[in-house]
């Protein structure tokens, strides 16, 4: 029973890790695209403005 619980927890951990990686990849993609479009200065200004 304990072994079954452990493997189930790994699955959910993998799901969360996958979701985190997807969000991270999307963030990186959006950042690179924004830098490409508007430049790093504009992205930094946006980041500083949000603080």
């Amino acid at each position: 029973m304990a072994k079954k619980s452990t493997s189930s927890s790994d699955i959910y951990t993998a799901i969360l890790a996958l979701a985190f990686l997807a969000v991270l990849a999307a963030t990186v993609f959006i950042t690179l695209t924004s830098i490409n479009y508007y430049g790093s200065d504009a992205v930094l200004k946006i980041a500083q403005a949000s603080k």
Binding site: I15, A19, F29
Partner: protein
């Protein structure tokens, strides 16, 4: 891990994936507004430059149009002045034409009168010409009569000269007889007259026989002597009278004193005009 935690973890993962996918899709499809802004800015700058150029060209064209308008306005004023001048000239020309027409009508009447006068003068001239012809024929006839009278006069002069010679001869015979009577009465001998014979003294001018008209030309003129181009071969004889004429004018007579074969010479008589070389000589007028 409770079921609720598991459910929330799965839902969170799913929503994260969906949200990440949506963001990725949105960002991937989003326009590059900066690039578009720069493009539009460049386009605006270009258009602004074009607008400036067009404005300059427009101003230049407007200036040219203004100059052209002024020039055309001046030309229009000049043409208007020319038009007025031409209208004035036209009116003047019309007045002159009317005046010329009136003059022409007047001159037409005058010319009609002149034509009538010329016709009258022509008729008068014809009449005068007839009278002149008549007078010329009368003159020629009178000239012939004059020549005849002159020939008769020559004949009378010759007779007078012969009578004078006879009178002298008789006076000489009388003197000789008186001398003989004074010296003792010799028989009368034949008296030889010392004067020339009657025919030797003078002879009447010979008038050419009627019907034999001898014509020649004057070839030499020397004071009172004249030489003609006809001679004995043409029937010319001494004392023959030639009449010298030039055209219809009678110049003089020539009494022939010397005759050669083809030349003859004589002295002038009844001179009215001096003859010249080339004048016509004939025995009959």
């Amino acid at each position: 891990m409770s079921i609720l935690t598991k459910t929330l973890a799965v839902l969170l993962s799913v929503f994260s994936l969906l949200l990440a996918g949506m963001f990725v899709v949105f960002v991937g499809n989003a326009n590059n507004y900066k690039q578009m802004y720069e493009d539009q800015k460049l386009l605006s700058t270009t258009l602004q430059a074009d607008l400036t150029t067009k404005d300059e060209q427009y101003n230049v064209q407007v200036k040219k149009c203004a100059e052209l308008e002024q020039q055309l306005q001046r030309e229009l004023q000049t043409l208007e002045a020319d038009k007025n001048q031409l209208a004035t000239d036209l009116r003047s020309a019309e007045r002159l034409a009317q005046k010329a027409q009136a003059d022409a009508d007047s001159w037409k009447g005058v010319m009609t009168g002149f034509e009538q006068s010329v016709r009258n003068l022509q008729a008068s001239l014809d009449q005068t010409q007839g009278q002149l012809d008549q007078a010329r024929s009368q003159g020629v006839k009178d000239q012939k009569e004059l020549n005849q009278i002159t020939a008769d006069l020559y004949e009378k002069v010759v007779q007078l000269q012969s009578l004078e010679a006879e009178r002298r001869r008789l006076l000489e015979q009388k003197k000789e007889l008186e001398k003989q009577v004074a010296t003792g009465g010799f028989a009368a001998k034949e008296v030889t007259p010392v004067t020339l014979q009657q025919n030797r003294m003078a002879s009447p001018a010979t008038i050419a026989p009627a019907g034999t008209d001898i014509k020649g030309l004057v070839v030499e003129v020397q004071q009172n002597l004249i030489t003609l181009s006809v001679g004995s071969a043409d029937g010319v004889k001494e004392n023959m009278v030639f009449h010298i004429t030039r055209g219809d004018s009678f110049l003089c007579d020539v009494v022939i004193t010397n005759v050669d074969i083809n030349r003859c010479a004589g002295v002038l008589d009844l001179v009215q005009q001096a003859p010249q070389v080339g004048d016509t000589a004939s025995t009959q007028l």
